[in-house]
């Protein structure tokens, strides 16, 4: 196993006067691993993603520490790419797709505009956008939800970050597009040797590609381990509940013949 990318020690986050959004999180992220962070609403999983990405607002209270490999604090957007649930909100509505992807490359990779624009086209091909030349000139609202998320992924990886954080990237998409986006992310991080932190409420979805799973519940980390271990023998009752709540094609049906 390669080195640690980040080590969280006693990490806590509180917004304003509210209860802790995250409390006393100890978690190590290995360089190059695919880690899934699982939790339900209010578990603190999005706060963990924002804290890792250095994107928390100024008015939060943070406790504990995040130590990075090489002691250098990563730059969000360059060293850390971020994909959100709502790709529509993370893309600029008045910029053409090509411009916003190229802008990231120009800013962080030191390319001139021509090079950056050509690279943006390559990226759209990499994220399997059909007709990339048309999409380069399109605006976000002209694309489907799945296409928008592919563009957001292209922008997130444009600066070749070491770490890609995806916060519920498929929750607004239908199941067919969801499986395509997951396969795409998996391939991209594999090819680039990127570390992936994938935030989700769906333990079955992540079981197909995550090497490790961390389970958050009510602002606390309840357990973390290898995916197969957590799924086969969860240590915490809450994790077991998440697993039994999964509805798949082999789950017993709730209805038989109509009354």
């Amino acid at each position: 196993m390669s080195g640690r990318l980040a080590t969280l020690r006693g990490l806590g986050v509180t917004y304003g006067a509210g209860p802790a959004a995250l409390s006393d999180i100890d978690l190590a992220i290995a360089a190059g691993e695919r880690l899934a962070v699982i939790g339900e609403s209010g578990s603190g999983k999005s706060t963990l993603a924002l804290a890792l990405a250095g994107l928390l607002p100024d008015n939060v209270r943070m406790m504990g520490s995040i130590a990075w490999e090489g002691e250098v604090k990563p730059v969000p957007g360059r060293d850390i790419g971020f994909v959100f649930q709502d790709a529509g909100a993370s893309l600029n509505p008045v910029l053409q797709v090509g411009e916003q992807v190229a802008e990231v490359a120009q800013r962080h990779l030191g390319l001139n505009w021509r090079e950056a624009y050509a690279y943006a086209r390559d990226l759209l091909t990499q994220v399997q956008i059909p007709a990339p030349d048309t999409v380069l000139n399109a605006y976000a609202h002209q694309l489907s939800g799945g296409q928008r998320q592919r563009v957001a992924i292209a922008a997130a990886i444009a600066a070749r970050p070491r770490l890609l954080i995806a916060d519920e990237p498929t929750s607004a998409l239908d199941t067919i597009v969801q499986s395509e986006i997951v396969a795409l992310l998996e391939r991209l991080v594999r090819e680039a040797g990127m570390t992936l932190v994938f935030i989700s409420h769906d333990i079955a979805l992540v079981s197909g590609f995550a090497e490790r799973i961390a389970v958050l519940h009510q602002a606390r980390l309840v357990e973390a381990g290898l995916t197969a271990d957590v799924l086969r023998s969860p240590r915490e009752a809450y994790t077991a509940r998440l697993i039994t709540s999964h509805i798949g094609l082999d789950t017993p049906r709730l209805v038989g013949a109509p009354a």
């Binding site: 339900e40 609403s41 489907s144 939800g145 998409l173 239908d174 199941t175 067919i176 597009v177 969801q178 499986s179 409420h201 769906d202 333990i203 079955a204 979805l205 079981s207 197909g208 995916t227 197969a228 799924l231 086969r232 509940r241 998440l242 697993i243 709540s245 999964h246 509805i247 798949g248 094609l249 789950t251 049906r253 709730l254 209805v255 013949a257 109509p258 009354a259």
Partner: protein, 263 residues
């Protein structure tokens, strides 16, 4: 026996920015009393338009809907209002479906008042009865809708649908926004209400596994058309259309073994 609901050749086209989009294309289906028809398909397949047309919130361009032997599409005025009591709906986001400043009692009192089902004096008792039916404590009645949890809110939405004693409830992504540990409880509630009252459901979702769990029959939609329909088992185990095959393949599977085969 006549079907509770029968749609024949429903079509609907919207124009959007000069483009014509066919949302429904010759949709014909039937639903028996006490039965659940699962309606599944990708985003933009026309599921929600069909839901709105079934409720007559959107008028179809062509086709008809027969409900309990009456041509529902032809009804106007008082006759339409009377039949509307018998068809209710539950949406994905209950917060958007309620006046956010209302209390739970207000939300449940509205249909009772609008349809003249309980006078001012009887209303608190009726609200309490409805809360009981969906497994909520009676002291929830005084709480504002925006203060209760998402799961509680969806129970209130179901209670509101029950208020008029419907024979059919259209559920449009009704459990999609809920936490997974809450989702199962809401599905159990829906199934038990169906057993008690013989309510028929049109259960709409993009998630085939959830649809399979609660439906008797499944209709698969894509691009405004029903591309396949049949008993749950045959659609899931032996899908005939490309859309149904893609939906089956896209269901996330719990993989407990390292390197377990995905198919």
């Amino acid at each position: 026996m006549t079907a509770l609901l029968r749609t024949t050749g429903l079509s609907k086209t919207f124009s959007s920015g000069g483009r014509r989009v066919t949302a429904l294309d010759d949709v014909s289906l039937t639903l028996e009393a006490g039965e659940t028809l699962g309606l599944v398909g990708p985003s933009g397949s026309g599921k929600s338009t069909l839901a709105r047309v079934l409720l007559r919130l959107t008028e179809p361009d062509a086709g008809r809907i027969d409900f309990a032997g009456t041509d529902f599409t032809a009804l106007r005025g008082e006759a339409l209002r009377r039949i509307r009591r018998r068809i209710q709906m539950v949406f994905q986001d209950p917060l958007a479906a309620f006046n956010p400043r209302a209390t739970v009692a207000d939300a449940l009192g509205d249909p009772l008042r609008v349809h003249g089902l309980a006078g001012r004096r009887e209303r608190p008792a009726e609200v309490a009865r409805l809360l009981g039916r969906v497994g909520l404590a009676q002291d929830l009645a005084a709480r504002p809708i925006h203060e209760i949890s998402g799961g509680q809110r969806q129970r209130v939405a179901i209670a509101r649908a029950l208020a008029t004693g419907p024979e059919l409830i259209v559920l449009d992504e009704a459990v999609s926004a809920l936490d997974v540990t809450v989702r199962g409880q809401i599905l159990d509630l829906l199934v038990s209400l169906q057993r008690q009252d013989g309510i028929a459901y049109v259960f709409i979702s993009h998630d085939l596994a959830v649809v399979r769990a609660v439906s008797h029959r499944i209709a698969v939609m894509d691009q405004g058309r029903i591309v396949e329909q049949g008993p749950v088992q045959s659609v899931v185990e032996n899908p005939q259309s490309a859309t149904a095959r893609a939906l089956v393949a896209a269901v996330p599977r719990l993989m407990r073994q390292v390197g377990e085969d995905r198919d």
